[in-house]
Symmetry: C2
Subunit: 505 residues, 2 copies
């Protein structure tokens, strides 16, 4: 490689590192806003975030960046390592995405998203979808236009999915979701009709917050969360944020009459946090080390929450700790009763409260609606009616208000079409990864039951966390599991587990 | 005024607001680092702060800024309001200060300050001034060079003072400090020799942190701190930070064997916080509304800490609350005993632990050394010897180690020469402001004794907080007090108070 090219690469690295650090600062501003900021600062914080977003945008499209990318290779063929080539590729993608859109469209999208959020909050509070419909329609038009500029060779909905789930299109998702639908609807129905229902009475009671917090911290720590490189706090909605692999911040929320939601939120967010803390040691300020996609991130949180912490070995191991923490509730509870109690399946109206069997149906419903909106087969005005009909068909429940139906999620109000599939793709990948783990380390469930979670964490670290963005999602999944995106292992997992819990033949 | 000029002004406002918001973000990063950041993030945080500082520097010296400032007037004569002219003047000052220094000097100063801090930490831990001397000498040389570039018409030490205390020079300070010295040394001596010493036994004991925190919050709130636009947390060194007048964050620290230090730290930092929360309602993202100088900021914290909270009316008012909070300590304590107990004067080696009578002598010592370093009459190598001799002369105590002497403060290691005078100028201004308040509102001490602190806060708000940077310090002091910087009211205050407490004829 010639010297000039090498120098250009180092100049690029310098710019990317600077942007990454400014991005980390944005992470702190968001965390602070959700966790600790005084209420009166919301207006000034919005302006600070706006100012920093402006700086980041300027830097992403800076002419110096453009010149470097012009000179650097456009394909992996010039003697750059995979690590280096990944940084070039990622920088070019960001640059192209930011520069291909006319400025007027950027501005209108930013303004409309912000306004639409306010409109949605009000429409939701007042249960009036018709007030939200006009801005939603406009957002959709703009996102279709946006797609035409950024990815002119893609279908508009695929381009929107690509932001969150690069390399995955409707062609990949359609057959997978169709298969899930075909098998989950009857499974949910038979669970509903089962004469056996797990006992969950022992999960209600009085649970002091200090005890819940100590319990969550202990389990998070045993999972491997490093509290010297992270924090755990309280926010309205649990999330994992922060500014760097050495500064990863998870949150949960507490209710005194229920501890299990908070505990599983801690475990879920710790799963995200381990991904961030476990990133490769080199290039931590560069795109190459970043988490791959939304679905892969979600696969890590769900891996710990569902495949591990809702599994028998974990329940068996941690029941004594729970009994010690909350003796009045757990004194007569067997591991099997505990396991069944945390794996209840119950169709409900609200996605974020759904269990692992019904959750995919909430996602598929939204995916089908979005697909229809983008291909013109669904009109915005008809969303409430179709929503309710699909809820009835898929889950057997029907919202009486739009607030509990089509208006429940914030995503569309921010123009985030194409985000929902990631949740269920993540659940599928988690089940595939778990199967691969069991095959690679047959004794791992025994180790979990013995309280040794390190083999799980280490395997995920090597297989996924340290891989960064070196591979595409399909290539990574293939490398880890030997197969492509495959709903079968997810369906097998759900069917085996829930047929047994609900005594279905 | 022509239209173009008006447009230029609005463009300038836009740039200034953006910079101000980025500056607010820097405030959050620093607060987070001191209060809440996981220890493992120190390296990544330093890089984030570096990246944001780089952006702020770029924006301060941006060619667009330069062009606007070229076109906008250089003197207050073009029909701009005082508010507008202040923003132009402040922007020009920042631009000039940032652009007049050769880039090589900027870089060397930044790198050396950072390195010097590490060297100082080590030298202080090892009690070896000689290890710190070479970097200190180099820092001094660079700061003299810096002064030659930025303020070529000023003496180098005046230029350094000007960063913190604009418009105040050695010519102003010398006679004031000489007068303090002449009168405080004998006052301290006679206090030392007094047969009467106040009882402070009741200030020792066991004070649970929750009770201390609740007490601090209550008093801070009664002083007028708005907790919906601010926070109170814990840090190693108490400070007041944050990102905006709607996001002001004070800190304190707790010891279980002493509550009074923590409580007075809360009151001190609340004084700073009220200044920030009380800034003018317009232009809150513009220089015009910002706090005036370090000394004026310190005058506000000291006003509340000393003039109010160490005064008899406040002690009388809040003794019952203290007795309720810590009954075992305060059951037999009279207001007079409490007042005397919090006003003990005792020469000591460490500036930050000093009381209001001895504190100025710590400052004057440093000021005289700095002045000597800049005019060449003091050599860096001789600092420890001169330090110790002056300590003996001024306070009658002599440090046995440099760690407890010349190495105790962090300021010089960061190149912050000229900062120390602000502390004592602030104390003098506080006493002048208090005298003005009593004259303007003769009943105010009765109101404080009745628990009504609003008149104090409101008067400071109108007289000082809402004035922003519209006036220079001398002009503001003149407007509020009718006089110039005047050590007499400070000396009168100290002499009256301590002669009485210590029964000095």
């Amino acid at each position: 490689m010639n010297e000039g090219l090498r120098e250009d690469y180092f100049s690029l690295v310098h710019l990317l590192e600077e942007n990454n650090r400014l991005g980390g600062i944005m992470g702190i501003l968001h965390w602070d806003q959700e966790v600790i900021m005084p209420a009166g600062a919301s207006e000034s914080r919005a302006q600070q975030i706006g100012a920093l977003a402006g700086v980041l945008h300027e830097k992403t499209i800076h002419s110096e960046m453009g010149k470097l990318l012009d000179r650097l290779p456009h394909a992996d063929e010039n003697g750059f390592t995979a690590f280096e080539w990944c940084n070039i590729r990622e920088a070019r993608r960001d640059f192209d995405m930011a520069t291909r859109i006319p400025k007027a469209l950027v501005t209108e999208l930013a303004e409309l998203s912000s306004r639409a959020h306010q409109v949605w909050v009000k429409a939701r509070a007042e249960n009036k979808f018709s007030n939200f419909a006009p801005v939603l329609k406009r957002l959709l038009d703009l996102k279709i236009k946006w797609a035409g500029h950024v990815f002119p060779d893609m279908q508009a909905y695929d381009a929107n999915i690509d932001i969150y789930e690069r390399g995955t299109t409707q062609k990949d998702i359609n057959p997978v979701f169709d298969k899930l639908k075909a098998q989950l609807i009857p499974l949910i129905k038979s669970i509903q009709e089962s004469g056996y229902q797990p006992d969950t009475g022992f999960l209600s009671g009085q649970f002091p917050i200090e005890k819940q917090e100590a319990l969550g911290r202990k389990i998070s720590e045993e999972m491997g969360f490093q509290f010297d490189k992270g924090r755990m706090d309280v926010s309205v909605h649990p999330f994992c944020g922060g500014s760097h692999p050495t500064d990863v911040r998870i949150t949960t929320r507490y209710r005194t009459d229920n501890f299990i939601e908070s505990l599983y939120a801690v475990i879920h967010e710790t799963g995200h946090g381990l991904y961030e803390q476990g990133r490769m040691q080199n290039g931590r300020d560069l795109p190459v080390s970043e988490a791959l996609t939304m679905a892969i991130h979600e696969s890590q949180s769900l891996f710990w929450e569902r495949m591990i912490a809702q599994g028998r070995p974990f329940c068996t191991r941690y029941l004594p700790l729970l009994a010690e923490t909350f003796p009045q509730n757990f004194k007569d509870v067997t591991p099997e009763r505990f396991y069944e109690g945390v794996n209840v399946c119950q169709p409900s109206l609200i996605r974020v409260e759904a269990d692992e069997v019904t959750y995919p149906m909430h996602v598929i419903l939204r995916y089908e609606l979005e697909r229809g909106l983008f291909d013109g087969s669904v009109q915005v005005e008809d969303l409430p009616e179709i929503w309710n009909a699909k809820m009835k068909e898929y889950l057997g429940v029907e919202p009486l208000t739009d607030t509990l139906g089509v208006l429940q999620d914030t995503h569309w109000s921010g123009g985030a079409f194409g985000y929902f599939p990631s949740y269920t793709l993540g659940a599928i990948y988690a089940s595939q990864f778990y199967r691969a783990l069991i095959q690679a380390k047959p004794g791992v469930e025994k180790q979990v039951e013995a309280g040794n979670l390190a083999p799980v964490r280490d395997w995920l670290g090597i297989q996924i966390h340290q891989q960064g963005r070196l591979l595409s999602v399909p290539a990574l999944v293939k490398q880890v599991t030997g197969e492509n995106l495959n709903p079968e292992s997810f369906l097998d997992y759900l069917k085996n587990k829930y047929r047994q819990i609900y005594r279905l033949n």
